[in-house]
Symmetry: C2
Subunit: 395 residues, 2 copies
Amino acid sequence: MNRLMLDLGIIKLASPGIFHLLPLGIRALEKLKSLIDKEMHKINAQRLALPALTPAELWEKTELFTLTDRHKNLYILSPTHEEAITDLLASIAPLSYKNFPLRLYQITSKYRDEMKSRFGLMRGRQFLMKDLYTFDIDMENAEQTYSEIIKSYENILTKLGIGFSQVLAATGNIGGLISHEFHYTADVGEDKLLFCSNCNYKGNVEISGQDYCPQCKSTKIIVRNGIEVAHTFLLGDKYSKSLNATYLDRNGLIANLQMGCYGLGISRILGAAVEVLSLEQELRWPLVLAPYKVVIIAPKGGSKEEVLTSGLDQELYDNIDKLDGYTGNILLDDRNHLTIGKRYLEARRMGYPYIIVIGSKATETNPLYELNEILTNKQHFLDKNELLQHFRSIQ
Amino acid sequence: MNRLMLDLGIIKLASPGIFHLLPLGIRALEKLKSLIDKEMHKINAQRLALPALTPAELWEKTELFTLTDRHKNLYILSPTHEEAITDLLASIAPLSYKNFPLRLYQITSKYRDEMKSRFGLMRGRQFLMKDLYTFDIDMENAEQTYSEIIKSYENILTKLGIGFSQVLAATGNIGGLISHEFHYTADVGEDKLLFCSNCNYKGNVEISGQDYCPQCKSTKIIVRNGIEVAHTFLLGDKYSKSLNATYLDRNGLIANLQMGCYGLGISRILGAAVEVLSLEQELRWPLVLAPYKVVIIAPKGGSKEEVLTSGLDQELYDNIDKLDGYTGNILLDDRNHLTIGKRYLEARRMGYPYIIVIGSKATETNPLYELNEILTNKQHFLDKNELLQHFRSIQ
């Protein structure tokens, strides 16, 4: 049974731009990772892990952490892995055309020596990123893959339940032929996005200016701030050519692979989602990421409710825990030296979507429980069967 | 459905002592992590993640990777987190005695600038470690916790099915009052362990010499090589005192917490288990870690078996995939341009514990499948129901 023990919280600053991820934060992150793993499985992407410590030979970029080992070899802490993965493919090249499309991704810590780290998890110096790399035999297949992955990223972001915009973006340092970003629009966002009401063009202003639409020249535009949560690149052969990642085509001839890369900011999504959804005094989680969906608050020790409802908290816990989608997602707050009121406020601050209070109506012959649905701001008094039916129906 | 696509393998050297973890390796690692999470849940341990990048102030050790950021601040890549976690507790001190025992663990990448990295995953420079830290209000409770965690670690290692020895160990750099190590005995092991046949004493020779038993002075001893897979320390107040991790006792007085720390080498266990179990030409996995439990080899394209067993591979896959413990753990090798023999050898090399071949007996009216149980070296011909019953019974 999950009992509310010491509540350490979600994140805590360790040093500038670097965070401890505390137990509730880890639970939310693991849910996000598992949601992504499921989507990646659907598109036949295989998971691997490339090391953070990377020999520095291939790199010439700012904002990198560099270090030398005891043998005076120069290393970097990788912020991204286009070179490493292309090198991996080159080391087993040439594979047959039959092995493609190939899709490989990882969910690992990345590093960037930001000039100014800020906005908590949204721009840290050590952060968790999911990066996917795709390999195809020609541009037609690579473009097809690019569309498929964008659809998959849309599925992931849709499941989080926060509105997002896909915009045209600059290819920048990573390079390639075309690039898109996914953004949450929010005042705190560091990017500026241009939306054209005339032709529906959407783009980051860094490629399009912000005076008129670069596609139809209309001035019927809206400019909003955005938090970038994903970035996709159709790379072509930029990396495969220079690093010799090749394959054997149907005629036995050697050709370069066509690549794409697709980043999804894991810790940033967590920070941004909470930033976009929360109220001043209360955290709000996307329902699928909430560290626990349900918290049960048991009566205060020594109260008449405690005596008259003895065992009901445990029974309720066990019943809800058996429901599809709730197993392991429910928490019993039986710290009964604290008042119900104090624990209720704390539960609201932490953003648990459903708070069940075992109060005075639970002492009746047919015990009624107080269900608080935080996201819709509704309160119901339900008996056990109604409560279980309610949870089943909203799943 | 899991189809065998391009088989990238398990691990690959990226640079000295640093590895790519490839898709099969990641699957085994994720299984190990999930097994550990379950055991940790049983003892009320909460998972968190402390950052690898740690300000260097507190550190004065060799074998550390150090780096400076753009502001010339010195950082290390942490090989362990006693200081960081104690600092975290100190930052919220003093908590009430009611919050203890408290058990916090993480499964994260750690770093060590080894003079000589070797033995693959067993002594890498970037490695995955699970480290648990415990906090108690007094030594009696701390000792109780220490015993409980050791039992939990025994449970984890027992589930992996490889014999292990728990020995007395030196407290070394980490310090503390008492320390134990868990070892797999193997020639390749870098530690020497002393086993006394007279009094049953077991210890690392680094604290006991190797001429006679340090406990009963008997010379009836055996010395074997061991691979250290876990290390436990009863720390006492070594860290809590210097970093001010305190609590309020029953009388409202401030006192120091008593700590323990417990490392489990995740990537090392993977490397060591495969090292201990494998044959020269064939990998062997602990059954609970095998990337996939079952592989089905479909007939070769253009063969009479392919025509006469059409659809059976898919049907078999779906049926086994529904069995408890097999869901997602089964792989269909339908690369039918390859002979059955070639795919069978490859499957053996990869160490899948159960290999099902759809061969000539599957063309009969009551199709029989060839089940190869690699760990027991047995071969059976079973019809579908017998096969499913067999898998149910060995689960």
